[in-house]
Subunit: 611 residues, 2 copies
């Protein structure tokens, strides 16, 4: 029999909505319990006793009531008022059936810098709590007035020395201050009453603002949470793992998917820690793309077929039972799925990765709470596992050419079309998906936890229609997805070039491919002379190469590893284009610095098309 | 004859779109010239010569080409490459017809900390520029590697001592570092080649990130730009006033209104400096609200009429020629305008302030580039001036009871309805308008520059459906508008309570008004017991008062001045509700801390109504 999973808890403040919305979402995502954030309770029409019953019905425990602020190290008359306030909150906790209250270090101007007084008054509070069968967890806020570090809060708790007084550790407060988490091991586990977890991006800003607006779920930021939690577990702490994330985006998002995102983050963290997670298996190895699927409306289908033909692709198969075409060149496969209701649009509907074990890939996805998509299929057709990414893109796990029934290619009986000679395209280099800004962090975590891809650092660049955030997720070999999103909502204007997605094909010789494309009149995106004039000023390039790049609208980039030559096509339908890329000497990345050039050119194409 | 206005210039980087979009927007807003941001040019398909002709056609000069980076204090071989790069850019400038290039202090790892070398190399660059009839403006970036302050850049320029080398001052770089702007007066005016202006909110964060994402147009942030510019003008500088604002929101907004916003900011700054601004007159004094107008669809009209009746209002007049009703109580007047095409909606369509001189108010609005709205009116009807606020709200300037034809009330012949007794409402206390987040700063500037209201500090609070930013604009007496907006785009979920707007009426006795409302079964929003339990724990209130507040769903707040009692109605139509407020002893503000309670209650009302 395997060990049980750790108890998973989420603070209601992580999620959007009323308390009722939050509890329902937390339960649906599979959390065992909640921290009740006081403001959520105050705005609720349900009495604390009703909330208790509601939680029991949902299978949720109430693990913490929080926060109680500005209690300790105050003059006697303030202490009296604070104890009166605490008793009223104990009344609420009693009705809730909660026995643990979070007290965070004071930020009050009334407080004094006196650890002994703080310990004495916290001991008094713990006595009051104990008399009612409750306990107090004291937490150092990173921006507390006097107590800002966990070791300082521990000195006070130790000095107060009351069994009903312990510590609450919050990874944000510890790691944002740069405190050494290894010292946590010196604290006895039974004095750690509670553990709150939050990740965050590294930011050089006021810590209070950083904490209130930019916390993330574990695995979405830059903090080393596995090491932090390992230190906590080394003390003997066996309480719940609880998420407390203040984030502007999650605060306004539908709480149901946000709670699933939170649950996924916790399971990934537990896996990293070597803790048992029911149903979870390691991510099978990937070996490239099986295909990319474009969902096309009526008008766009023939235009995309023309474009693929111009790019040197051949229609090699048609699906047995669905209106789906298979186009191939080299190792690149593109499906055109016209099973779509929209009229003149095209979008990347699905991507498929080659997995060493598609069944186990799907099993992992399920354990990571990825929504498994139902599929209708004919009796002879391959059983394909697919899940929905946060933006709705369908992700398939395939093993093309497998000997059993799992080979999806068998569902595409060949057409009689002879294979066109091709233009040097050898496979799919990467797929670029535009993410709504409020799914950006969730998407990176999804591809990491579910598919097993590593997120690269986030890049931001100024584009003609707003700042763009870009992040690659990759297996450092065969699969790369570029997640792009605007930093803030993009305006209502320039809608035609707002959210393009694209497939980038690999070639071993971008200039040769480009020349062939131009020869056959393919819709290669025209890059302006100003770009090449600037390139000439910036980079010491061979004049002949520069002339070739300019003549063929091929763009250029270099990094510390090598060089990158790439070209774009025009836009098809409302938001699809293609790219052809050549990587030389191990160049990484996707030349995001050239993206603004492409965006401006696409806008010109649009304006020219519409008149 | 009056002095001419200062030349007004805008950097293309302030605006969204392609270079062509930006130039058209700048010209339409009335700018005299532009700074061409290099990346905008590089992405353009127009040659520099074509851009020059385009600018001439639009009536724009090209006042600066920018930026040239990482030039100075480098080893000889890098210097050679940098001079080669500069000559290529001089080629571009020659074609553009631009004679001034911005060189910003280096951030290059190749550079060395050697002011003499920097001066020597900048002198060399200035010689090259002079040979082509051009000049160099050197600017200290706040995050430069060695040169970060304007006085440091001035020492280098003085030491280089070349007539074609001068300084560019940027208010952000000077004021973000806390440099003393008074020392600017020690620089000879003829060595100040260019002046860039940007405001910003005070933020405790990395200065590069602050600059790249959060700059604002003058008057939208916290910098003391009038003093800064006064110091610059004291040197004898008579060059253009040029805006250079990097802002995530403006970068993605329609450039035409953004350019108008920019122009308005510059005119307000010029007024503050006592510079001539053609057509501008001081803002006439205000003395309260003339009326608030609700645009109502078919279904909402009768519900709102019922609600106003329940609140003690009487229908006192109907417009001569339009489907507009006048409702009154005490000094509060509400117009219900059913001249709307939507079916079941209601929104604040207009607000009207009492101006000591409506004609001059409109004249100022025009000079401040507020869009004057066309009005159809009958031959006998009052001529009312109105302008459109950034969110589309119509703003009227009235003089109710004026003896001439300007009294708008004369257009509402009285009905025979006898005046109802009323419930103690004496006037409009404030009007709350929900702003799209990307018009928030623009709106505050609009009400300041156009209407003459002072913006109060921005408040941010956590609400059930996302962080909310709130800012009052007020004449500190009779007129107050609360501008509210979500910090990020609000999600697709919980749409019914997404963007409510409301009118807050004043009463001298909120509890008496509340009792009367409950007696007549008015739709007062029910406030939960949990709120009052928390109020009791937090505040030492008279138990009888607390019981009265609780029984009547009246909320409570206090500040350092006094107390605030208020109640809300339920939502009408899709986004309108009313508030009744009592201010005691000079309480300021609008009790934003209670807004989350109201939002959760409105969501409950919605859920109860729909299911």
């Amino acid at each position: 029999m395997s060990a049980p999973d750790a108890r998973r808890v989420i603070a209601t403040v992580c999620l959007s909505g009323t308390l009722e919305d939050k509890l329902v979402a937390a339960a649906a995502a599979g959390f065992d319990g909640v921290e009740i954030f006081e403001n959520d309770l105050i705005a609720s029409a349900a009495s604390p006793a009703e909330i208790r019953r509601h939680c029991v019905d949902l299978g949720l425990t109430i693990d913490l009531y929080q926060p109680f602020r500005d209690f300790e190290a105050v003059p006697p008359e303030t202490l009296r008022a604070n104890l009166r306030r605490a008793e009223r909150k104990f009344d609420v906790m009693e009705q809730l059936g909660a026995d643990l209250m979070l007290v965070c270090s004071t930020v009050s101007p009334d407080a004094v810098d006196d650890d002994e007084l703080a310990a004495e008054q916290l001991r008094l509070l713990a006595e009051r709590a104990a008399a009612r069968g409750m306990r107090i967890a004291y937490e150092a806020l990173a921006w507390g007035r006097f107590v800002t570090t966990y070791d300082h809060s521990w000195r006070i708790v130790r000095s107060a020395d009351h069994p009903a007084l312990g510590l609450c550790l919050d990874s944000f407060h510890v790691l944002s201050r740069g405190s050494d988490p290894a010292l946590i091991r010196t604290i006895p586990g039974e004095k750690l009453f509670f553990l709150q977890l939050a990740d965050a991006p590294r930011m050089d800003m006021d810590v209070l603002q950083w904490s209130r607006h930019h916390r993330l779920f574990p695995g979405q930021g830059s903090f080393d949470l596995p090491t932090f939690v390992a230190n906590v577990l080394a003390t003997g702490y066996r309480g719940p793992l609880s998420l407390e994330v203040f984030n502007d985006v999650f605060r306004q998002a539908d709480p149901k998917p946000a709670a699933v995102d939170a649950m996924r983050s916790l399971r990934l963290l537990e896996e990293q820690l070597g803790l048992p997670v029911t149903g979870l298996v390691p991510a099978p190895e990937l070996s490239g793309y099986a295909f990319a699927e474009l969902a096309v409306g009526e008008g766009a289908g023939s235009r995309l077929a023309d474009a693929l033909t111009a790019l040197g692709f051949t229609l090699t198969g048609k699906h047995r039972s669905k209106p789906v075409q298979l186009w191939e060149q080299g190792g690149a496969r593109v499906l055109l799925n016209s099973n779509s209701s929209t009229s003149d649009s095209a979008a990347i509907g699905a991507l498929a990765v080659e997995s060493a074990d598609p069944i186990r890939s799907a099993q992992r996805a399920d354990a990571m709470r990825a929504p498994i998509l139902p599929r209708s299929r004919g009796p002879e057709e391959a059983s394909l596992s697919s899940v929905a990414a946060p933006d709705g893109t369908e992700v398939f796990f395939c093993r093309t050419g497998a000997e059993n029934a799992a080979d999806w290619l068998a569902d595409f009986p060949g057409t009689a079309t002879p294979l066109a000679p091709g233009l040097g395209i050898t496979g799919i280099d990467h797929i670029a998906l535009t993410q709504p800004f409020d799914h950006f962090d969730e998407a990176a975590l999804f591809y990491r936890a579910v598919v097993g891809l590593d997120p690269e650092p986030i890049t931001e660049f100024a584009a003609p229609f707003g700042m763009v955030r870009s992040r690659g997720v990759t297996d450092r070999g065969s699969v790369r997805i570029a997640l792009n999103g605007t930093l803030v909502r993009r305006g209502e204007w320039a809608p035609a070039v707002r959210d393009p997605q694209h497939i980038a094909f690999a070639t071993a010789d971008a200039l040769a491919t480009a020349r062939a494309l131009h020869e056959r009149g393919a819709p290669v995106l025209r890059i302006p002379d100003n770009y090449y004039d600037d390139l000439e000023a910036r980079v010491d390039l061979d004049p002949e190469l520069l002339a070739e790049l300019r003549a063929n609208s091929v763009l250029y980039d270099r990094d510390e590893h090598g060089e990158f030559l790439h070209l774009f096509t025009e836009l098809f339908g409302s938001r699809i284009f293609f790219e052809v890329v050549q990587r030389i000497d191990g160049y990484r990345g996707c030349a995001v610095a050239n993206a603004p050039i492409r965006m401006a050119a696409h806008r010109r194409q649009r304006l020219a098309n519409t008149g």
